[in-house]
């Protein structure tokens, strides 16, 4: 089998062997239902509680403020829908940004149909939310501000502390989708004025199908799944014990290794950005140059289309992603790239490379070398490039 260079860690990550090992007993031996009386069940209550505490510790939160879910999308849905339900009598206005994940944007569209009003605040060309616009959007009936911690496509990080402070000044709840940021950058919910936070394990080398919603004590939030008494009666269903254990393990490892990993990833990411910007002409870096996730690089290569690039990269064993229409399943390129002001044709030629701590300098060098040839090849067949060269010649 040819070597795979996996540079799509923002899509999902490899479950780390230590995480798998920690999870295994909960499939085969300690499989009991945590609500049971007998010991192979009831002992899992303690296991879940410990896992909850481990995760709470990473955020500077309390154990009873962590609610396990099936993942980031569910957490986002819950935070928005349940807030609207609980605070709808107070007001019917929500503020979010134009570059949120679809789990937020499509939930907002749903809420609009239920009679809520949503303001989608603009971002600047780096993808940073326009704070003045955010301030101006606040109304007496605003009940919630939801802004993502870091963007999944372009990696740009938002001024979370300021947004949280602004929300609290006006008595508004603040939720952040931290699916990309949790475990990658330090997060303290008190320090950053966060009331609710969504996260998903599989983005940090944990298993798929498990996430959590942090809900600050005192926030009135309704039950999302009705049934048993699990998750303090807010989210019924037999606990996914292996998933919970795996998530806690992954979070712990992410926390312990964060400093060293970040430094390493930032160095490699910057090396990747520098090489590509220097060696491939007519290229734009998308997202903020420095204030971005340690592992994220996103480029637009003029005159070519993203899906073609991905197929040719895959042929070389390189896994990446693009914001082109062809990869989104619609005719429009990514809403994030359009929101930062890219014209459609430039947005179609985007490429996202997201590293992990396993990524090496050799991987980066190989990728850049292959990419150079691929971009050149696709440009040589592009009528847009032909026109461009002709205009240059005139």
């Amino acid at each position: 089998m040819k070597k795979i260079i996996y540079l799509d860690n923002a899509a999902t990550t490899k479950t780390s062997p230590e995480v798998v090992e920690a999870m295994l007993p909960y499939f085969t031996e300690q499989y009991g239902n945590a609500s049971a009386i007998y010991s192979i069940g009831s002992s899992n209550k303690e296991v879940i509680s410990r896992a909850r505490k481990d995760i709470a510790d990473v955020l500077g939160a309390k154990e009873n403020e962590i609610y396990f879910t099936a993942g980031g999308s569910e957490s986002d849905n819950w935070a928005l829908k349940a807030t609207c339900e609980a605070y709808g009598a107070k007001g019917k206005h929500i503020i979010t940004s134009k570059i949120e994940h679809h789990a937020i944007l499509h939930t907002c569209e749903y809420l609009e149909k239920q009679g809520f009003e949503v303001t989608y605040v603009d971002v600047d060309e780096d993808g940073v939310i326009k704070m003045d616009d955010l301030k101006a959007a606040i109304r007496p009936d605003t009940i919630l501000i939801s802004v993502m911690f870091a963007n999944n496509e372009i990696g740009t990080m938002q001024p979370i502390r300021e947004i949280g402070a602004l929300a609290h000044e006006h008595g508004i709840l603040f939720h952040t989708d931290a699916v990309q940021a949790f475990g990658q950058v330090p997060i303290n919910v008190d320090d950053l004025n966060i009331d609710m936070l969504s996260s998903s394990a599989h983005k940090l080398h944990g298993p798929k199908g498990i996430g959590f919603l942090y809900i600050r004590k005192g926030v009135k939030i309704r039950s999302f799944v009705h049934g048993g008494a699990q998750e303090r009666k807010r989210r019924a269903g037999t606990e996914n014990v292996p998933g919970i254990v795996g998530f806690a393990k992954a979070a712990k490892i992410a926390q312990e290794t964060m400093e060293e990993r970040r430094a390493k990833e930032i160095e490699l990411r910057d090396y990747l950005i520098d090489r590509i910007m220097a060696e491939i002409p007519y290229t734009k870096l998308n997202g903020h140059r420095t204030n971005r996730l340690p592992n994220n690089a996103n480029f637009s290569f003029q005159f070519i289309e993203g899906e073609s690039m991905l197929i040719l990269l895959d042929d070389k064993g390189i896994c990446a992603s693009s914001g082109s229409a062809c990869t989104s399943g619609s005719l429009d390129p990514s809403h994030v790239l359009l929101a930062i002001g890219l014209p459609h044709e430039i947005a179609h030629g985007s490429l996202r490379l997201t590293l992990s701590e396993e990524t090496t300098k050799e991987d980066i060098d190989f990728t850049v070398d292959q990419l150079k040839a691929i971009v050149e090849r696709l440009r040589s067949m592009s009528p847009l490039y032909e026109d461009f060269i002709r205009r240059q010649g005139k």
């Binding site: 073609s308 592009s382 009528p383 847009l384 461009f388």
Partner: protein, 145 residues
């Protein structure tokens, strides 16, 4: 996602390039939706398509359908080339995913646009050919980065 034939035509596209002083050139699609095809035809005095080349900005299917379309019209008469429909291109490629069917339509239109250009240049009328509708607006300036 793609058939082996599509992958073959994407990885080894036939007839990529330009034809100097082509008898007809047609460009269809637009950069906004992510696909542009340009087809060059070299047509001899007997109305036979001697050579056909293409350039395409687009996804794997867009490149593969362009490549296959050039193969299907090469050596054919103008009338035969008009019979190369998007369905014919798709069948020759062993099918396309549903979301990519528009790529094959673009290939058919690119042939028609090139034939239309040939007819206009020569002041002739080609039976059964109407003015292609999706010609892209020329001279749209792209920004440099």
């Amino acid at each position: 996602m793609y058939s082996e034939k599509v992958m073959d035509h994407f990885n080894n596209p036939r007839n990529v390039g330009e034809i100097e002083n082509a008898s007809g050139v047609g460009t269809v699609g637009n950069a906004k939706c992510g696909d542009i095809m340009r087809m060059y035809l070299d047509i001899d005095e007997n109305g036979i398509i001697q050579d056909c080349k293409f350039k395409t900005f687009g996804c794997g299917a867009a490149v593969a359908t362009s490549s296959m379309a050039t193969e299907l019209v090469k050596g054919k008469t103008i009338q035969q080339a008009l019979e190369v429909t998007n369905k014919a291109v798709m069948e020759a490629l062993d099918g396309l995913p549903p979301v990519k069917v528009h790529c094959s339509l673009l290939a058919e239109e690119a042939i028609h646009a090139a034939l239309w250009d040939y007819a206009e240049k020569n002041g002739i009328k080609i039976e059964g050919l109407s003015k292609p509708k999706s010609d892209i607006s020329e001279g749209e300036e792209e920004e440099d980065y």
